[in-house]
Subunit: 220 residues, 2 copies
């Protein structure tokens, strides 16, 4: 889609992006002094190190937890009332908080975004997106009562039959991949647990939702 | 084991620990100004908010990724050369880094701690430990070549037959749970994917490895 996705004029592959070329941690969260980028003793990577107290500050991926809610052979989707991806459809999902389990976080996000009280049924997928430091953890769930309505971050919520899922209006590559895998599993009559990595194709923009590859797909 | 684990003299249950009673983020990582704890608009939890630039700083759980390496009906364990749990046995595992997938991180940790080059076979378990903000992601893996040796963080590495796993000398509750589940699966002839939460029993110390409960165990 994006013209930036074409590498026709430069046949040499682009180098992979550096893991830590700079850090978001410019000042020490513990003492407030400026940090510097350096490789600590015994380490191999550049880290933000406090110039005063010497603390090393690591940056780790974040877990995004969500639910694939099944009801009457349909799945529950929410249309986003916030950026990014305003107006597009997603599974209820959000960042896991310290102090809760992934299952608790997925239930909480479903309550917040779809006002739906759910029971977690089983883990369904882990989808890592290394480029943006996110790992999606998706659970199958069911409605405890057949009630839902849009929470403050949703324009609307709706149950979609599997043939009617709006694949052209989904918010994130992780949601596309999750729902594709789910459809395949339902059609085969064998719902599995899936692990995979979602890699953006080199040279494509972050807004180009469909320019990704799925790597290391493993299922149980 | 620990006398502190008994609640016989105080029948009322202890309240759960507050999720964020204080923050490790005392200074803004972006501008260096002091933070204050407050509930942002539209939020429900206390967050560290910069008193100068107003940025909200969230604290999220960290992913620990590791491998359960199978070889000749044995599993590969490493004896820790570092604290915590110096001298105790563990699966090769460590914090996931930004820029790598969980499978890549698990392979990297296995190379670092056991000098073992492995192929990831399948996801085996996710074990959340909400109290300490960690989520363990464990993969089954196999040795590409039958070679391993202790890396800088290991005293020794060894293959253990399943009946000889040193359950009394394991380093972490997550490792105990993972290996117990694996043994049960192998004995039943059906190796599954497991999700569960590990909760410390109220009143027990962090060093009391065996005072935990497994909640929400789901398998696929």
């Amino acid at each position: 889609m994006s013209s930036a996705s074409s590498n026709a004029s430069s046949p040499a592959p682009s180098p992979p992006p550096p893991v830590v070329s700079k850090s978001k941690i410019r000042f020490c969260p513990a003492c407030g002094s400026p940090t510097k980028l350096a490789i600590p003793d015994g380490d191999e990577k550049m880290r933000a190190i406090c110039s005063s107290c010497g603390r090393v500050h690591y940056e780790n991926p974040k877990m995004v937890v969500g639910c694939l809610v099944e009801h009457d052979n349909k799945v529950l989707l929410c249309r986003r009332k916030i950026e990014p991806a305003y107006g597009l459809w997603t599974l209820p999902a959000g960042y896991l908080e310290v102090g809760e389990s992934a299952a608790e976080g997925a239930s909480r996000e479903t309550l917040e975004e779809a006002c739906a009280d759910v029971e977690i049924l089983s883990p369904f997928a882990q989808l890592d997106i290394p480029l943006i430091g996110q790992s999606y953890i998706i659970f199958r769930a069911r409605l405890k009562t057949p009630n839902f309505s849009p929470g403050p971050e949703s324009l609307e919520c709706a149950l979609f039959a599997l043939d009617d899922i709006p694949f052209d209006s989904l918010a994130f590559s992780s949601i596309i991949v999750t729902l594709r895998m789910y459809l395949e599993d339902v059609k085969s009559g064998n719902i599995k647990f899936h692990y995979c990595t979602i890699n953006k194709r080199v040279g494509t923009g972050t807004s180009d939702l469909r320019s990704f590859d799925i790597d290391n797909h493993l299922s149980v």
